[in-house]
Subunit: 318 residues, 2 copies
Amino acid sequence: MTLAEQILAGNIRAAARLMRDIDDGRPQAIDELKALYPHTGNAYIIGITGPPGAGKSTLVDQLTASFRSRGKKVGVVAIDPTSPFTGGAILGDRIRMNRHSCDEGVFIRSLATRGALGGLSRSTSDVALVMDALGMDIVIIETVGVGQDEVDIVREAHTTCVVMVPGLGDDIQAIKAGILEIGDIFVVNKADRDGADRTARELSVMLEMRNAVEGGWNPQVLKTEAQRGTGIGELTEEILAHRQFILASDHITTFMQERSRRHFMDVLRDTLFKKALSFMTEEGILEPMVAEMGDHRIDPYSAVDKIVSRLMPDRTPA
Amino acid sequence: MTLAEQILAGNIRAAARLMRDIDDGRPQAIDELKALYPHTGNAYIIGITGPPGAGKSTLVDQLTASFRSRGKKVGVVAIDPTSPFTGGAILGDRIRMNRHSCDEGVFIRSLATRGALGGLSRSTSDVALVMDALGMDIVIIETVGVGQDEVDIVREAHTTCVVMVPGLGDDIQAIKAGILEIGDIFVVNKADRDGADRTARELSVMLEMRNAVEGGWNPQVLKTEAQRGTGIGELTEEILAHRQFILASDHITTFMQERSRRHFMDVLRDTLFKKALSFMTEEGILEPMVAEMGDHRIDPYSAVDKIVSRLMPDRTPA
């Protein structure tokens, strides 16, 4: 049996192996992904984003338990930006998820950014695809809401929850127009802290000022204490309500096309670059060129012209 | 006169125009950059990074004033990740730099991430190159130290200052091994706050545990109050000391080569992708393909194979 066939039969170990192959950039992994693709599109994808320290990992842990108790299989893709400032803290939090480690209905995968040639959004799409093929009903993507990469990832989700926390201060949280646009549901976590009601109220006011679209979704602000499990039931209900809404609307076709478009663009960018790298390596032209550029004997733009004119002769003006 | 000639003659307006052309992705911009390249490599590049709320913008403002008082021309590239969580706050801070706005020896440029096709590090390299060609002695690159993009940018700098702040809490700052590696100088800003000494001491201890390289640079921890200008002179001296160190060592050749390599790779990735996009647009094949992918009639990997085999026929196995 191919890896793809084993994954479609629900073999978790095969899924883990394919994810490793994807990480390692093995060319066979692409063939397996191609074989899986027609069998995907069934998983419901939930994005959880917010600033560092908002308690996202704990919330994801609770949501996982909540969907499990409803008989759903849950995949979790946790993005650990191996940023010096956040990487470590997030990895630490991950330990809390251990209670699901013996549950066959839960599949957790951490993604690091460093070294991912195709970028984070490419890796996230591929991993979510494998979880979908494996039969996960829900795939939760958890990411720190800082940086363009992370915002791109959130667009992968059917439902995006933005997690805020009282008391982090405006200069850190910077509750600005941007987050209002990406969130379908807003969560004020650590709601036992001072200022929770104020943060929730301010968010509600800002959401009301947002231009309401006729027949559009009306995002709610919920309060949770993920540590104690308070408010998790309500959050689950709200996610399911949003799911009902988008499946019933015309949005879903556009959504699926836009998602395919981004995935395609990511794979395209990645593939072209890899082809160029292997071309330069085979021809032994990379290192001499780098040395020339270091001495300012050739500029990087002219060096690129040289490579591209050999790789894509038809696309180069004579 | 070409834009490049005007910039080499010190024309600030021409520099601003080229930067706009770069942003807009105009092909002529590349020719101007090619013409500028042989005249660059003179500017000293300083990276300032740290978590949101650490007071980086104010510190950059003070450093700018400090280098100006030493007769140096200063360029500032401020990265505003148009992240929902930090974008706004950083743009707000930028207003403080206004006191330099009438000074011809200061050139400030904000870069947004959103929409930058070639990514942040590509734009930063190009803008720093223009500032270098314009005759800026110092180019300060300011970036939020979260996310892979931002870490890549910091590698552009000759000297990297990591800015921390007391009281942000470990879960946000996550003082981990990673930041120790990228910093040449560590700054505890807002040093009047409680816990400043403790943060500085902890940093020092961690730096001592770092494997010292024989004859290597020994990073110091400095305390500043950027708002009042306290400690800025010492920080300037330390930056200049690090400059002396790296110019005197063999590192500089490797450093210049690695920088050229990254710049080249960024331009290459960007150029290949743009060529592919224009090919698909000209042939009218993008939208039908996206529709097919949305319906799962073709997978993104096979779609990419189709495009690449037409663009790079020589690089495709028969």
